[in-house]
């Protein structure tokens, strides 16, 4: 059962920060609500103990997907970096169909398309997915190959963390009680070809059993850059650099992609140890990685 809640609505970002500050520790942010509404009814998780729910779905500042110059102050010099910024309240449906994301983060669009069903994608948000930090969150492996950063804001200011720094364990993040995750930003992967492959128990509405996001860049028939991040495999999202190294500088081939896939499985065993499920997961992860790399390469081939 749900205890009585006070439902607050913030109409702009500043209002939200003030409310978070005022009710610090006694307020829970309601993003899309597709996870929280179930958790509240089941009496699970943090939302249970707070008096206030804060609906942030009316905040326009959190709904844009845009290209933006961000000034990075580094000792004496200020450099302008080109970033793609995704507002925390962008829904999976909006992300899946964004022209800008299709051009700069194809794997993220594929991941967004694979979330739940249309009814879920219409309300569930990227910011909510990242903050819930589920091991099986579909957006996390795609954001990891983008080396994405999250922006956290409170009344005092903002801080920027990488996905790896933000997610500290299954379901755990580094967010403070009065902070809001306002945006996710990354440098556009314009010269890369990227793919996201998900293994679920069925096609629609499946929670990932395993997924892999991969991105490749080429020059003169050689792989110049490679990024691979498996989802549901590690406690926190990460890239598998040992597998990426196998690819860089080589000519793409089925054998090479198989070798990289095998290395991802080896890394899984190194990090998480052997479990009862390893016999199943080991070949599956190699195959899903192979598939993601092959899809990325096929995009490159059909593009030239």
């Amino acid at each position: 059962m749900v205890d009585e809640k006070d439902y607050l609505v913030a109409n702009n970002l500043n209002e939200a920060k003030v409310l978070m500050h005022e009710h610090c520790g006694n307020i829970h942010v309601l993003a899309g609500g597709t996870d929280l509404m179930v958790a509240l009814r089941e009496g699970k998780r943090s939302g249970r103990d707070t008096t206030y729910l804060l609906d942030i779905s009316n905040i326009q500042e959190l709904k844009a997907i845009e290209r933006k110059k961000v000034t990075i102050s580094d000792e004496d010099c200020n450099t302008n970096e080109d970033y793609i910024r995704i507002g925390a309240m962008v829904t999976f449906d909006e992300a899946a169909h964004s022209g800008l994301l299709l051009k700069t983060a194809g794997a993220l669009c594929e991941a967004a398309k694979s979330v739940g069903a249309q009814q879920i994608r219409n309300v569930a948000t990227i910011g909510g997915n990242v903050c819930n930090a589920a091991v099986a969150a579909d957006s996390l492996s795609a954001l990891t190959i983008l080396d994405a950063k999250v922006v956290l804001e409170d009344l005092r200011g903002e801080r920027v963390l990488s996905i790896g720094e933000f997610i500290t364990g299954p379901g755990k993040t580094a967010i403070n009680e009065d902070e809001l995750l306002t945006e996710i930003r990354f440098k556009p992967l314009e010269d890369y070809y990227s793919a996201f492959v998900k293994l679920g128990r069925r096609k629609a509405l499946a929670i990932s059993r395993m997924n892999v996001a991969a991105a490749l860049a080429f020059e003169d028939e050689k792989i110049t850059e490679a990024r691979i991040s498996p989802g549901c495999v590690f406690a926190t999202p990460r890239r598998v650099q040992s597998a990426e190294k196998i690819l860089i500088g080589e000519s793409p081939s089925e054998e090479l992609f198989m070798e990289a896939g095998e290395e991802v499985s080896k890394e899984m065993v190194r990090i998480t140890g052997r479990r009862w499920s390893t016999d199943y997961k080991y070949p599956a992860l190699s195959a899903v990685t192979f598939k993601a790399l092959a899809i990325a390469y096929n995009q490159a081939k059909s593009d030239t």
């Binding site: 609500g33 597709t34 179930v38 009814q119």
Partner: protein
């Protein structure tokens, strides 16, 4: 209790609801429209699908107070002057239901699709109703009904 005002099937309604009330409970319990069904209550089955400002959503996952000022359509809002919508009629014509429990949700998902995309492909239809579980029909008649309602025959469309 907090005040909630929204447009339900074209009429302005006002109710008092609890802070964490779900839209489905407000529609069924407070407003007495029981066409919207609750199946799983966790967003898996789609029986509770309604249309909010043009988008199909699961009303079991939707906070009632988020509907403030919005336009909500349920299965009861589709027939006009006693005439069924084209899709409702096509569902009958194609025997696209048996027990009928999933039917309102399925019709709302497909209606949202047809409003945005009047001539959907078979793939697009399957994608739009993938969040609606049906244990009776095997989906084939449901897809045919949507094709029919959009004025397309099997031959017009890409084959299975």
């Amino acid at each position: 209790m907090q005040k909630l005002k929204f447009v339900l099937n074209g009429k302005c309604v006002e109710v008092e609801v609890e802070g964490c009330a779900r839209l489905i409970d407000v529609i069924r319990e407070n407003l007495g429209l029981t066409g919207t069904k609750e199946g799983c209550g966790i967003g898996e089955c789609g029986a509770c699908t309604v249309i909010i400002d043009g988008d199909a959503v699961d009303s079991c996952l939707y906070p009632a107070l988020r509907a403030q000022g919005k336009n909500v359509t349920t299965i009861e809002g589709l027939a006009k002057d006693g005439r069924l919508s084209a899709l409702q009629q096509a569902v009958l014509d194609h025997h696209a239901l048996q027990c009928g429990f999933c039917t309102p949700g399925f019709i709302m998902s497909a209606t949202a699709l047809l409003n945005k995309n009047p001539k959907p492909s078979r793939e697009e239809i399957k994608n739009a109703i993938a969040g609606n579980l049906c244990r009776c029909t095997g989906y084939e008649q449901m897809i045919e009904a949507v094709l029919d309602a959009s004025g397309q025959t099997e031959i017009d469309n890409d084959s299975a």
